[in-house]
């Protein structure tokens, strides 16, 4: 990996502050990640793990109660945390674009498709209406919307869910961003439409050299689409590294448990490994490791001190005392136990 990465997060923290600071929700807590150009990073976690807040932080579109309380996020070496709001407006849609879960909510029902696909081109590249609309038609063609000439004049309600999501994709890539963040982009789509859409995204990525961040709770999407994986739990990245390394040899007990909790088509009779208990309340995290109360391998030490970042092997990180070099000798036994 020569040169600096496209995006580097360095101990980034976003907290929700309520009741004049009496209640603090550590939604994103000291997250460090890197995304190389043209690479796909999957961020997985359950509801409340902070993965969506992380996405909002990257675009600096947080709700009023949320504050970026620390850390840096470097895009091409420039720290986005320090940017002013007008500077951010130039970056959003131009360098970083985002696709949200619900295409009906991200399209304006009162404007035609052409208007909405052409808007970022007119705003960011100051193109004339005519050129912008021409490019909009080309984009619809690129996301395989049949008869784009007719479709640009239609409204979102005239399209199916799959088509709307492809239009949101077209808006996302309209200004050729370097990074596209997709927050659960296919949860509202049917299986065969989901397969079409994921293939389309991968094709667009290949053509435009896009870096992709996939935010999802679905490990199947990660297995299919991603190069790198970051597993979030209670606002922290508990494990990160290359997807196939993590799937083959997870280090953190939470990652392990998650992988064993999904039903597998090739082994339908296996009893699922349920993770007992509930995800913690982010406003009242337990001391030490936040997964310790649900962890089958928790030691007294886990309940006292939060584990720092360890490097179990080059290119991987894990926040778990079991990954500490001194404990690494015992890891073989651990992987046999879960």
């Amino acid at each position: 990996m020569a040169g600096p990465p496209l995006l580097e997060l360095d101990r980034l923290s976003t907290h929700y502050i309520a009741a004049q600071g009496a209640r603090v929700v550590r939604a994103v807590d000291g997250v460090s990640l890197r995304v190389e150009a043209g690479e796909t990073l999957g961020i997985v976690g359950e509801s409340g793990s902070g993965k969506s807040t992380l996405a909002l932080t990257l675009l600096r579109v947080l709700p009023p109660a949320a504050r970026i309380v620390g850390g840096r996020m470097l895009l091409d070496g420039e720290d986005l945390v320090q940017k002013t709001e007008p500077e951010m407006q130039d970056i959003r849609g131009k360098k970083i674009a985002m696709i949200l879960q619900d295409p009906m909510a991200s399209l304006n029902p009162l404007f035609t498709i052409g208007n909405q696909v052409a808007e970022p081109i007119r705003v960011h590249e100051h193109e004339t209406r005519r050129t912008a609309w021409q490019r909009a038609r080309a984009l619809l063609n690129a996301v395989r919307i049949p008869s784009p000439e007719a479709r640009v004049k239609q409204y979102p309600h005239e399209m199916s869910g799959g088509m709307r999501q492809r239009i949101v994709g077209a808006i996302g890539i309209s200004c050729e961003p370097r990074l596209l963040i997709a927050d659960e982009p296919t949860t509202s789509l049917d299986l065969t439409i989901q397969a079409q859409y994921l293939n389309l995204l991968r094709e667009l990525q290949r053509q435009h050299g896009l870096a992709l961040i996939f935010i999802t709770h679905n490990l199947g999407i990660v297995a299919k689409m991603c190069d790198q994986l970051a597993v979030m739990y209670a606002g922290r990245v508990v494990e990160s590294g290359p997807v196939s390394r993590i799937f083959n040899a997870p280090v953190h007990p939470y990652t392990k448990a998650l992988l064993n909790a999904i039903p597998r088509m090739d082994d339908p009779d296996r009893r699922l490994n349920a993770i007992e208990g509930q995800p913690p309340n982010l406003a009242a995290l337990p001391p030490g490791c936040s997964f310790a109360p649900r962890c089958a391998l928790a030691m007294p030490r886990c309940r006292e001190a939060a584990p720092p970042e360890f490097t179990p092997e080059p290119g991987r990180t894990a926040h778990c005392w079991l990954a500490e070099p001194a404990a690494a000798a015992g890891r073989l036994i651990v992987s046999g136990a879960v």
Binding site: E46, S47, L191, I193, G220, K224, F247, M265, P268, Q278
Partner: protein, 338 residues
């Protein structure tokens, strides 16, 4: 012994196209569907939106009257039952729905929610009802003090346990599970799927399991029925069907399911287009406009479900000796390796 048997089950809804005026049309939501569910077994129904799986569930629950066709419960046709018989049927067939946030009344205590079916259907004293509530809570793995709390005090997974306890209050024979885990987090999903399997083994329940997560359906079901636009296109033993689909739609659907491991490589059949409207379903085989293996006959003639090595398949490809072999090479172009 079969608990429930549906024969030629059909449900049509009338629909007016256009907002104010327009010619009336008919939505053929379920069109001639037949299946049987044996004692203590699970029938899984899979298919995309609009395939009729939820309407089938409503017909079984008696929430919709079939346009034609019959449902037999323990050998007796529902249409021939008197009021007492129908009441007994309603008690024997219960449901668990997708969203435990919508299916529990926020103003009722858990004890009242679980006891409600008992109080409306059986002559029980307050003490007996409370005793049964305690039994049910233990059965679904909730603490006894949960009875005095309100739904908002529980997480999604716990709420789904409450919904299951309510469904079991009348000791039903068949439980209709309509997407019971789709609203839940991965780690909680495994808890609920395990609980449902344990309850089936313990109480000899039969399930009608509807979900879009194919791996979960394969994990839960003994038999799987694949529906497309109101018709069953393939039905058979769950593992065999998941491993070696015969109908081109089943093949495409299962190949669109996400892999459970990044090293998993398989043939992916990408379907062009989207599911057509059930108001004017395509002629002949309803799948033929999207089918990579369609030939002339498919557009003109509706394929019948026929027995093929212990499995039911509705596809002209398997009409022995009459199959036109010419279009098969076309398939190779549509299959791509990923």
């Amino acid at each position: 012994m079969t608990v429930i048997e549906a024969a030629g089950l059909t449900k049509h809804f009338s629909a007016r196209r256009g907002v104010f005026v327009g010619k009336p049309g008919t939505v053929r939501a379920v069109d001639g569907v037949s299946f049987a569910i044996g004692n203590g077994t699970t029938l899984g129904i899979v298919g995309e939106s609009g395939c009729g799986k939820t309407t089938t569930a409503k017909l079984v629950l008696g929430l919709e009257e079939p346009t034609s066709g019959s449902i037999c419960f323990e050998g007796r046709d529902l249409r021939q039952l008197d009021a007492a018989g129908r009441r007994r049927y309603r008690k024997s067939v219960q449901a668990v729905f997708q969203d435990p946030y919508a299916s529990l009344n926020p103003r009722m205590r858990i004890s009242a929610i679980i006891a409600e079916p008992l109080i409306t259907n059986e002559k029980v004293t307050a003490g007996q009802a409370r005793h049964r509530v305690d039994e049910l809570l233990e059965l679904v793995g909730l603490p006894a003090h949960a009875a005095d709390l309100f739904p908002h005090e529980f997480s999604g997974g716990q709420r789904q346990r409450i919904a299951i306890a309510r469904a079991l209050a009348l000791s039903p024979k068949l439980v209709v599970l309509d997407e019971p885990v789709s609203a839940l987090d991965v780690s909680i999903r495994a808890q609920i799927l395990n609980l449902l399997r344990d309850l089936q083994a313990q109480l000899g329940l039969s399930y009608l399991f509807i979900a879009h997560d194919l791996a979960a359906v394969a994990h839960m079901s003994h038999t799987i029925a694949v529906m497309y636009l109101g018709k069953i296109v393939e039905m058979g033993e769950a593992r065999a069907l998941a491993r070696a689909p015969k109908h081109p739609y089943t093949e495409a659907l299962f190949s669109a399911a996400l892999p459970s491991h990044p090293d998993e490589r398989r043939e992916e059949v990408l379907l062009p287009g989207e599911v057509p409207s059930p108001i004017e379903p395509p002629s002949g085989c309803r799948f033929h406009p999207r089918c990579p293996r369609a030939f002339t006959r498919c557009a003109g003639e509706v394929p019948a479900l026929r027995n093929l090595e212990g499995r039911l398949v509705a596809c002209h490809l398997y009409d022995a000796a009459e199959t036109d072999p010419a279009p098969l090479p076309l398939m190779a172009a549509q299959i791509m390796r990923t």
